[in-house]
Amino acid sequence: MRMYPAACAGIALLTLSACGGGDPLETDDDAATDDGDSAELVIGSQQYYSNTIIAEIYAQVLENEGHEVQREFEIGQREVYIPELESGAIDVFPEYTGNLAAYLDPDIDSGDPDSVHADLQEVLPEGLETLDYADATDQDSYVVTAEFAEENDLTTVADLAEVDEDLSIAANSEFETRPYGIGGLSETYGVELTLVPVEDSGGPLTLGALLDGDVEVANIYSADPAIEDNDLVILEDTESLVLPQNVVPVVSENVDDEARAALNEVQNVLDQQALLDINAHSQSTQDSPADVAQWWLEDQGMLD
């Protein structure tokens, strides 16, 4: 409970400084607040700590630029928040290229990050746009322990086909039927794995199964700090079996060019290591998303 006063104070300070920087009634050269009658930007986030921190980073950067921001965080699923984005109730939302594209068009083809980002533009509803995608991804990845990788000389997913023993993978049960799952691995790479379903989406149980040696491979998200902490190796998915999930902000027409430029600045520095650092910091300190976002932005020298 101790973190709440600190977080509140932090938000209060940020709000105050934001007001001081861009009062719509006093400054007439401020493009952000000039056009339109309501300059307040509504920022949403998924019910996922890492996503909420990214949303908070966007919020603080926009506030730093003098925009008024309203936070609508921890909205559950795409089924709920995509209509809100379309209706204009939400203006900025951190998303992931592949999953968003697949949500909008289930038949989307996998490919490299560029092509998926390009495909996403085709299927986005009218009035919504995405900004630059970040190098950081948060996607399913095939992970093995460092020892196992070394023993069997593994660097790519295809290398698994050369391993001369029965291999099993710990993953959510949907791995049974997903294109990047058991069937896809067999078809694309000739890799035959037995699924051991562990339903915590690459969480501590999946990690435990891998470290205990119950399974040889695990499906863990690429932005999970556990990968670094436990010296795990992500096998390179050379054929893009997994849909790339680069972090990308979806924005509405209410977001002006200046705000877009500010968000793109964040996108340009948000690489994989940065996202891993952010998530690791959040997990080790248990700070609020606002504090974690502020910590990272100050570290990057992006708040003034």
Binding site: A170, E174, E176, T177, E199, D200, L205, D214
Partner: protein
């Protein structure tokens, strides 16, 4: 309603029952987990419950501790246990035993206590030892309640055994989770119906055996 019809289509399709991951195998696994959990729980809870009922000692402790344990969320317990013992059947089995013990324990001591003191006094007056009173008087007369406790425990475990699939074990939870994760709601519903059917059949078996017992004991 369409999902429900589709779910019955899934259940009526012989394809979905065959194979190593089919409903047939999963249902047997499910039954096996339930039986195993009940055997372990009964081995723990029956002796303790009978002694509590017979001696009257530790009753408050039994009531409070079983009440507390009942409040534990099973999924949380499975996750916690799996973090220590790893994935597989051990962690869910611990949780199922924790789930089943309170019902069996309560049934056991309530069964023994339900025997009228006058009856046990008569037994003692005839020269029966404590053990003889327990084995020949209290247990036979308390049997309907003791079996009632087992019946409650069975129902709870068979309905909860789907969670074994959460940590890499089998059972009907496999189909349930697969349906949930892939938005295949007919499959999910089919697995749920299979669990419900299993629960009804098991409960009917207990109902039948309880009736039979009452008749044999002349309690009806």
């Amino acid at each position: 309603m369409n999902h429900l019809i589709d779910a019955f289509d899934v259940l009526l399709d012989p394809e979905s029952w065959s194979g190593p991951g089919g409903f047939g195998v999963r249902m047997l696994e499910h039954l096996w987990y339930t039986a195993l959990a009940l055997i372990i729980s009964a081995a723990i809870a029956l002796p303790v419950g009978l002694m509590v009922g017979h001696t009257g000692r530790g009753r408050a402790l039994a009531v409070i501790s079983t009440g507390l344990v009942r409040a534990l969320p099973t999924l949380g317990l499975i996750t916690l246990a799996a973090l220590f013992v790893g994935i597989g059947l051990t962690a869910p089995m611990i949780a199922f035993v924790v789930l089943a013990v309170p019902s069996i324990l309560a049934g056991a001591y309530a069964g023994v206590e339900s025997v009228s003191p006058a009856t046990t006094d008569v037994a003692k007056a005839q020269g029966m030892s404590g053990w003889q009173v327990l084995l020949r008087v209290e247990i036979p007369l308390g049997l309907p309640l003791i079996i009632g406790g087992l019946r409650n425990a069975t129902l709870q475990v068979v309905a909860t055994a789907t969670l074994a699939a959460y940590v890499g074990a089998g059972g009907l939870g496999r189909q349930l989770f697969l349906g949930l994760r892939t938005q295949d709601y007919p499959l999910m519903l089919a697995a749920s119906i299979a669990v419900i059917l299993l629960a009804i059949v098991l409960d009917a078996c207990f109902e039948f055996s309880q009736r039979l017992l009452r008749r044999l004991l002349g309690l009806v």
